[in-house]
Symmetry: C2
Subunit: 428 residues, 2 copies
Amino acid sequence: MTVELESLKGTYDYYAEDWATRKHLIEVVGEVAESFGFREIDPPSIERQGLWTEKEEDSVTDEMYAFEDKGGKDITLVPEQTPTRARMIQRRKDLKTPVKWYSTSKRWRYEDVTKGRDREFMQGDFDIFGLESVEADAEIIAAAGTIFKRLDLDDRVSLRINDRELLESILESHGIEKTEEAMKVVDDKEKMGEEEFREDLRERGLSGEAAEQVDELTDISGPILENIESLRETAPEEVQERIDRMESLGEALERHGVADMCRFDLSIVRGLAYYTGLVFEAFDSEGELRALFGGGRYDDLVSEFGEQEVPAVGFAFGYSPTIELLKKEGRYPLKGTETDAYVLSVSESVRGKALGYAAELRNEGLCVETDLGDRSFGQQLGYADSINAEKVLIVGENDLENDEVTVKDMETGDERKIPQDEVLESLS
Amino acid sequence: MTVELESLKGTYDYYAEDWATRKHLIEVVGEVAESFGFREIDPPSIERQGLWTEKEEDSVTDEMYAFEDKGGKDITLVPEQTPTRARMIQRRKDLKTPVKWYSTSKRWRYEDVTKGRDREFMQGDFDIFGLESVEADAEIIAAAGTIFKRLDLDDRVSLRINDRELLESILESHGIEKTEEAMKVVDDKEKMGEEEFREDLRERGLSGEAAEQVDELTDISGPILENIESLRETAPEEVQERIDRMESLGEALERHGVADMCRFDLSIVRGLAYYTGLVFEAFDSEGELRALFGGGRYDDLVSEFGEQEVPAVGFAFGYSPTIELLKKEGRYPLKGTETDAYVLSVSESVRGKALGYAAELRNEGLCVETDLGDRSFGQQLGYADSINAEKVLIVGENDLENDEVTVKDMETGDERKIPQDEVLESLS
């Protein structure tokens, strides 16, 4: 039998040394989520295709790993989790709001493989269901920002925030009628030059003056509270309510301690049609990578999956782009192989004794390895080094006769003899 | 759009309250694995079908979620992880042995759904590659047993151990030639009566006397060291080497502290043809559930996937059967919703202050929720109770004027006022 040893394109064999950093990220995401009181859920990885295909606007259906199961059902590997969560919310009328869910799990999309874009990938999802409040908006952004603070990457992350309703009402207040069309163009603004941008707007029916105004407005970008204050000065009455909300958001983000990462940016739209208010996305501040995370408020989506009207705000965290950012920063791997102690048997006769020490130390929660292969002293030390053992406990007959063992510090090379009954205490 | 709200049959929506126990099990499995120096890997969830279909003896291929991807490749959701691990070992010639891997991940098999048997399920896999030693055998069993010790389920688990080579050489020493045939029958012994068992052996060509001997031998079951000693007395010279190995295993399991869970049982064969020596499986000691875990030594399998000859020993841990066991014991859920503190704002004006406390406490690693919905005092207390908050920090204007806040213990109902600058200390 000839086996292709490589994994499928866009999927990866994460060996221990690569997985350690990803696992650490998953743990940090989990710790931050739990500190905010998000509760972990675990939805299925396979679902009925209809959850995606019966909604018209989704482009994701072209990329699904979709197939028929042995029972004739059209199923798919989940390309994202929002419809599943909407379904889960609709199934339960007894959940106490706010429902705050997070999870880290695999997604699958058959698309071109590039740096930070895989076919099988891990994603973290956070949502708050059941509240329309600006406090919920702020908490979602704060959770996202705190992850990068914990990773000491916050000064490398630019978190751009907008409110689609605010943008729309400003456009309307400037007499621009085709706001929907204008916002589609704004969504692509970053990829265009000024002339191209204005022309595209004119082609979609905006006057030359209106196009100029949209261009100027969507150049507004900077610290939230400062920018919202200057926007307020020129904005008419009907926009004030959304300005108030953005101001409250800015204040809450200060309290959450993440305001320094955030910028108000009227050009952020996020293509997905389902967002109804807040939208935000975060990029490497040098701007080369895919979005590190992004999200927003989607108050109308959940009701497409059942009877309950349930407002929602959430974000998705991208593990692969974050790993790419760590690599750019020269901080990859964040974690390597770690071992608290290796218990070395000098000879066959002390193996049982050595194993006993290993078992005791493991019971204390330490990571401990010992010889499994009747290896020489030197081979054992070499292996202990290869697994980055901090300490080596050397168990030999002569020492044991004096009721002692030897502890070797693998960092300094220092050795010292300790009484047998102090092993636990000395290594814990 | 009408959505079927239920997940696909055999897949489950794990809401937070169900997931908490499973997550705790995953953490215990991870802690035990790491204490033994197993390193976590993360292999793909989709693979080429050939990894399974090109090997003849696998029955698992009928149950695979197999399909063609958009690039025309025949792929499958992984039904188990052994071929993937063999592939990963073969890809890398630089790995230092022993290679000790574990992971917990999802598997998919389209089969009948029963208690403890799902179509999408979590499994834990542990392997030691690169060593033929009895010490490696012992460590694998010890890791498995220690998981149940940590869960305080060890007295409910019966871990039955055999060595296929030992059984085979005993059968041969009794002049039984058709050992392969005999072992197939032994594999089904538990489901048969004595007469049926002996007759089945005779039908496969064993003499009446041989059938009787096989029946008696495979009734041997009990503490390892005791039983191996009595076996030694009657066993001929050529069997002694395998008896020595089983004795060493028994001694090592004593040292590992798991011998009390283990029984030597000459009737354990484990159908899978690839096992070459040690085999073991663990059941609920009341015997009603599917295997909680099982495994053994498979020294020839890895070489089917590439050039390197790599001995291996491993086991798979079943999460769903373990959950069923916890339920039988009345110990489900093991974990519920836990929250360290809820920060309650008595009025709109103190909301910023409350949010500041929440952020500080979260930075200390505590799980903290606060009001996101402008709710009344009573509603907030009700929500705090619903998330099992241990403490409620009540932030009100009057208290703040005295530089104080109130801490309510939700267990006892006691309230006490504390100075504002003692909040962290008092709740951490």
